[in-house]
Amino acid sequence: MNELTAQRLAELTAEALERTAFLISDPVETDPAVYCKACEGATIRYRGPDTGCVTLNAGEGFLRTLASNLLGVEPEEVEPLTQGVDAIRELTNIVGGSVVAELGGRDCAYSLGLPEPLIGACPTVTPEVGVKRTCCLDCEGQLLFVTWTPDKAPASLAA
């Protein structure tokens, strides 16, 4: 299985944010305490030579920022439960697509499922998992966490 570092995950996500929503983001260190409070997001599963999922977690502020940029409206005009959730689902879909393209290379044989919203579902950081496969991006003051979870972890990423 190809490996995907947290740094590469951040690069792929930053590209998705910039191209899709014209949002510039900077990678920052993942703080587990803040990560556990990022309770809105979405996840998407992939299958192919191996399986796994990509999960995005953020707070409501990020959902508002993302949706407002996509829609061209003010953040306070965004309806978080509909437009905000749709925006994070689509971003998850796009980042998931970038991850499988990265894992699969030129002859990519991976397929994506449909993104599933995670509303009010706070992520947990267990000592076994840690945050080795999670990157964090600061996007106009709002934090976005992206986690790659292969079902069978490469040896170099095993806890």
Partner: protein, 127 residues
């Protein structure tokens, strides 16, 4: 530009973003139609003449591949231009889409300029 475009994507927010790019490419806002899945797209295409379909692949109810298959089975619609705009990276599936007459594939995240050029090229106007 007097051409009709159909945007097929299950994300309303992405449809709006694509609509914006299509408008910038010179397509009349009133000639842009939307559908949330392949089934809805077939319903639209039965009632409105469509010159270009911008098609997502992974959608609930009816995915883009099934839509393209059904579209090509109808002699009235076999020549409708279809461009895939999707996160799809699976080469086998993209090959099947080419076999179904898809003229171009654009992978998300795309640069708006790339989509604008593809729309202009597909509709036969200068990008």
């Amino acid at each position: 530009m007097s051409c009709n475009i159909l945007i097929v994507d299950d994300s309303p927010i992405l449809r709006k973003a694509i609509r914006k790019v299509a408008t910038l490419a010179g397509v009349d806002e009133n000639r842009i139609h939307e559908a949330g899945n392949g089934r809805e797209a077939l319903d639209v295409i039965e009632t409105v003449w469509i010159d270009l379909v911008l098609l997502d692949l992974n959608m609930p109810v009816m995915d883009g591949e099934q839509f393209a298959r059904e579209l090509r089975q109808n002699p009235d619609f076999k020549d409708v231009a279809v461009v895939v705009v999707s996160t799809e990276a699976n080469q086998e599936r993209l090959h099947r889409m080419r076999d179904l007459g898809v003229i171009e594939s654009l992978r998300k995240p795309f640069k708006p300029e790339d989509l604008r050029k593809i729309i202009a090229t597909a509709l036969g106007v200068k990008a």
